[in-house]
Amino acid sequence: MNDGSFIYLYLFNQILATRYIMPNQHPFFFLSAAFTYPEQANIHPFFEILASLSADLSIEFNHQAADSTSLTDLQAEYVRLFINSPAGVPAPPYASIYIDNRGILLQQGHDEAMSFYQAAGLETIESSECEDHIAFELAFIGHLIEDNRLDLLNKFINEHVLKWYPAFSQRLQSARPCHFYQVLGQITGLCLQHILIEEKADE
């Protein structure tokens, strides 16, 4: 790193004033994008952010594994983990599968997600995916943070997302995912658990 960028980083750090996440810099839109099917020819920025987030959250990051992953590897791995796999989809990324142990799509977990979106005055864009897909739910959290809807955010995470994310994450990790999805799963879990940290008030 040359001097110029070091100074820039230093200044940036100062400008932020606090190192707590600010509404426009929280990682949830990124996590949402990382949980969608990888199509960008350049996957390098994804790894870079994952590495940086890993450092923040004290998660081990294997740079070598990241460097040797091609886009096709990542696509095949995404299909195997989340779309269709010869071993059965190991970790379908939908709330409906896990909540109430339904095992199929578009059940109670989906209804819950839709109710929350409606309560926030938001709706999903037309998509080929179910609206309780992890990518939608993480992006929704992003919007709640930006709009400072803390009560709804709290409710959404505690009464919905955390009802299924741990089970999903467990199935994801036991499928022995490639490094990208292994770390992504861990980071997302930590972000969900600690997004709202209760602290003693300063005064």
């Binding site: 932020l16 796999s85 799509l105 005055g121 990790q173």
Partner: protein, 797 residues
């Protein structure tokens, strides 16, 4: 007091994320927008299907296709019932019909077009766009056609979703389509026998047998109640409730046998001996309908002469039955003449040789009893007129000329009218004779489980230049495909007018309860767009909805008009004929008790008994059947149905089990006559099966780990079928010519021969290979390993 703060993030992360959002990605993920607050939906729980929108449609959980009502609330399918206006099933649907919801919402359904990125059979895929997928298929179809000629393209098709794409293959000029296992591995011999004898296919997808009005019924091997089609079972029960007598011929105490007045537990492979002895008995004892035979049948004198040698005494020894029982049964059936239902059966590819003759014998018995065109007998379909439009014009579907045709020059004189023999396509792929076949399209067929000898099929697939499939759930076929296209399931599409020509004719249509999920597309859309990529002219209508409306227009109907009448209209039936009005659609206008067309091809005009070889020493015959909550091999992964019946069991005679010290529910492995071994299967010890046969329901033991619930549950009968005998009439392949013994705790247990086999029945000769291998202590070939190079990467759950 406590206060909430957000998680700490470093500046480096913030910077990297800031850069990321400039990387061409939509800001904030781009997944949400401000809601249109106008339409508030209540996503909370509601009672049952209250307030649901009802859309009538047609079931496709099996090929019987019952009219249904789908109930949709908040864009979700919540319940399926029978269409109350349906004259065949009313409000009833079976377990499978109910479980359509599970098929629709199964997380294992194929969601996007995919291409193979690993080795064939490895199951490593990447998601691709529809354009990319169709272009890839079109490119390969053109390439193979250019290099090897149009006949190098072959299409295995089955069911409603396969028809549109068939026309695309026809437009390419190939002769290799309609090679339906549903025909050549199922109904073929029965269909041919009835077509040649009574002039119409009395048993095909539909069966024109009047069970509700029968005074006596005969079932040979048919196990209605275990094979469930709602209206079919209803008609069977209606007949019995009205007092019909029932004779069941089956080596197993089936559900139907449990309702029989007489159950004949016959030696497998000897049914035709019993039938011919009965025909002789009916003639000799003047039990036949003289007037009907004289006026409507031809060949009676020849028949009488031909069957003279088949006595009940002779049949008793061959069939291992008591003379008194056989006599009582035929007298019972004769007494009900002409209102007697000799059930034509459907799945008839049993022993290869003699299958056509067996079904010919049923048809002859029906004719001798005058049970054609009368209540309680075989009846005539009532033609229901609807429109039709070709997707590709007839003149563009010319079969390219070929020196030696696989279809027309087949070794079987009666096959070409029905398509190219399925097994011949596999052979041609493996041998390049009479010409190479290098590309396979598969639609609605599990080619591993439905074509006998999957080992040959696997070898063939490895030789192909290209293979693609259109599928809803990934079976074995998807595992081996280069491109996989996601098919909309029957609840998500229009696909044609359903006209029922049975006792209660009706017209109904399949229409979508919901739009297709993910990127699944209806078969019409897929075929139309593949045709576009191939630059084939055709598909004049915009979509399948327009196609349905076009076909309805011919009878002055439309989807809207039909929906106003509950989605279905009933029509008057014309199933019976008076003697004056009885017209038989054979060339001579008579029912043929002796079929000259068979004789012209050096085949038997009148059936002769040809014994199917008996089990070799130490083995029992493997027979199979259906289970009431599953369809073929395609519903085993369905959550609800899997919960009801997750695996099949091996029916084993109790005395054999006692001698081999096998307990009920114990797990064993089967080894067939050529050393192939099955998946482990639990044993059902029962007196309800003969000691010379074992039984299992078909369709279990899936080799596709993709079907997460069904993978490895129970054993697959198909993987034990390595010995096939071709039917000489139309090349159908036998499925009851395989023998198994039991492997328990790694030791091979020979099945003792409790019932001696008469000298007139030869025993199956074990190939030397199997015996030698055993002597040399060579490791047996396990069907479950080695043949499938699937990467087992799924973690422990």
């Amino acid at each position: 007091m406590n206060r909430r703060r957000f998680l700490k993030m470093s500046a480096a992360t913030a910077m990297a994320m800031a850069a990321f959002s400039l990387d061409g990605l939509p800001p904030k993920g781009g997944l949400f927008r401000v809601g249109q607050a106008l339409a508030r939906t209540n996503y909370g729980p509601a009672n049952g299907s209250m307030g649901a929108k009802e859309i009538t449609s047609v079931c496709e959980m099996c090929f019987w296709r019952c009219p249904i009502v789908t109930k949709v609330r908040n864009g979700k399918l919540i319940k399926i019932e029978g269409n109350p206006k349906s004259p065949v099933n009313g409000q009833r649907v079976c377990a499978r019909g109910n479980s359509g919801i599970q098929l629709l919402y199964d997380p294992d359904r194929i969601k996007y077009p995919m291409k193979r990125v690993g080795a064939r059979g490895e199951g490593k895929w990447a998601k691709i766009s529809w354009d990319e997928a169709l272009e890839e298929i079109a490119h390969n179809m053109n390439k193979v056609k250019k290099k090897y000629g149009p006949h190098a393209l072959a299409y295995f098709d089955h069911g409603a979703s396969a028809e549109n794409l068939r026309e695309v293959f026809m437009a390419m000029g190939t002769e290799n389509y309609t090679s339906e296992p549903a025909f050549f591995q199922c109904v073929g011999p029965a269909a041919l026998a009835y077509l040649e004898t009574v002039g119409y296919i009395a048993t095909g997808t539909r069966q024109y047998n009047d069970m509700p009005h029968a005074k006596a019924m005969l079932l040979v091997g048919s196990h209605i109640g275990e094979n469930v089609h709602v209206s079919h079972v209803r008609e069977f029960i209606e007949g019995l409730a009205a007092g019909s007598k029932l004779v069941v011929v089956d080596p197993r105490f089936s559900v139907a046998a449990g309702k029989a007045d007489i159950h004949l537990s016959i030696r497998p492979g000897t049914d035709t001996a019993l039938l011919l002895a009965w025909i002789n008995y009916v003639i000799q004892n003047n039990l036949y309908h003289k007037e009907f035979v004289a006026n409507t049948c031809q060949g009676f004198a020849d028949l009488k002469k031909e069957v003279k040698g088949y006595s009940l005494e002779w049949a008793a020894e061959i069939c291992d039955l008591k003379i008194a029982d056989m006599k009582a049964a035929i007298e019972m059936l004769a007494k009900a003449s002409p209102h007697v239902m000799i059930h034509p059966g459907r799945h008839s590819t049993w022993y290869g040789k003699g299958d056509v003759g067996r079904h010919q014998s049923y048809a002859i018995l029906s004719a001798l009893f005058g049970a054609v065109g009368v209540p309680g007998g075989l009846y005539f379909p009532t033609p229901v007129k609807v429109g039709h439009i070709d997707c590709v014009e007839e003149k563009s579907k010319t079969v390219a000329p070929v020196e030696v045709s696989l279809k027309e020059d087949s070794a079987y004189p009666f096959s070409a009218a029905f398509g190219t023999v399925t097994a011949d396509i596999i052979k041609a792929i493996n041998t390049s004779k009479p010409y190479p076949i290098r590309l396979l399209g598969v639609n609605g067929v599990n080619i591993m489980q439905t074509i006998p000898d999957p080992y040959e099929t696997m070898k063939a697939i490895k030789k192909l230049d290209f293979i693609f499939c259109e599928e809803m759930m990934a079976g074995e076929t998807a595992l081996w495909s280069d491109i996989i296209l996601p098919d909309a399931i029957y609840l998500e599409r229009y696909d044609g007018v359903y006209a029922y020509e049975g006792l209660t004719p009706y017209i109904t249509v399949r229409q979508p309860a919901l739009p297709p999920m993910y990127e699944a597309k209806p078969p019409y859309w897929i075929a139309k767009n593949l045709a576009r990529h191939l630059k084939i002219d055709g598909f004049p209508l915009p979509d399948a909805k327009a196609l349905v409306n076009h076909d309805l227009e011919a009878v002055n109907l439309s989807i809207n008009k039909l929906n106003k009448q509950g989605g279905i209209i009933s029509l008057p039936a014309n199933p019976y004929r008076t003697p004056e009005n009885l017209k038989i659609a054979t060339d001579s206008g008579k029912i043929k008790l002796s079929v000259a067309a068979f004789e012209d091809e050096d085949l038997d005009a009148i059936p002769k008994f040809q014994p199917a070889p008996a089990p070799p020493k130490g083995y029992a015959r493997l027979i199979y059947g259906r289970c009431p909550v599953h369809t073929f091999s395609r519903t085993m992964n369905n959550l609800w149905l899997n919960h009801e019946v997750p695996e099949n069991k091996l029916w084993l005679n109790d005395e054999i089990a006692r001698q081999l010290k096998i307990k009920n529910d114990e797990t064993v492995v089967l080894e067939n006559q050529s050393g192939k071994r099955s998946n482990p299967i639990k044993v059902l010890v029962t007196p309800g099966i003969r000691p010379d046969a074992v039984y299992m329901t078909h369709g279990f033991g899936s080799k596709s780990p993709h079907l997460s619930r069904a993978y490895g549950k129970g054993a697959a009968d198909g993987y034990m079928m390595t010995n096939t005998v071709e039917d000489p009439f139309m090349g159908a392949t036998s499925k009851r010519t395989n023998f198994v013994r039991i492997v328990k705790n790694k030791s091979i247990l020979d099945i003792p021969e409790i019932i001696p086999v008469p000298a007139a029945i030869p025993k199956f000769k074990l190939r030397k290979l199997a015996a030698d291998r055993q002597k040399a202590g060579v490791r047996p070939q396990y069907a479950s390993t080695g043949d499938f190079s699937i990467q087992e990467r799924r973690g422990g759950e």
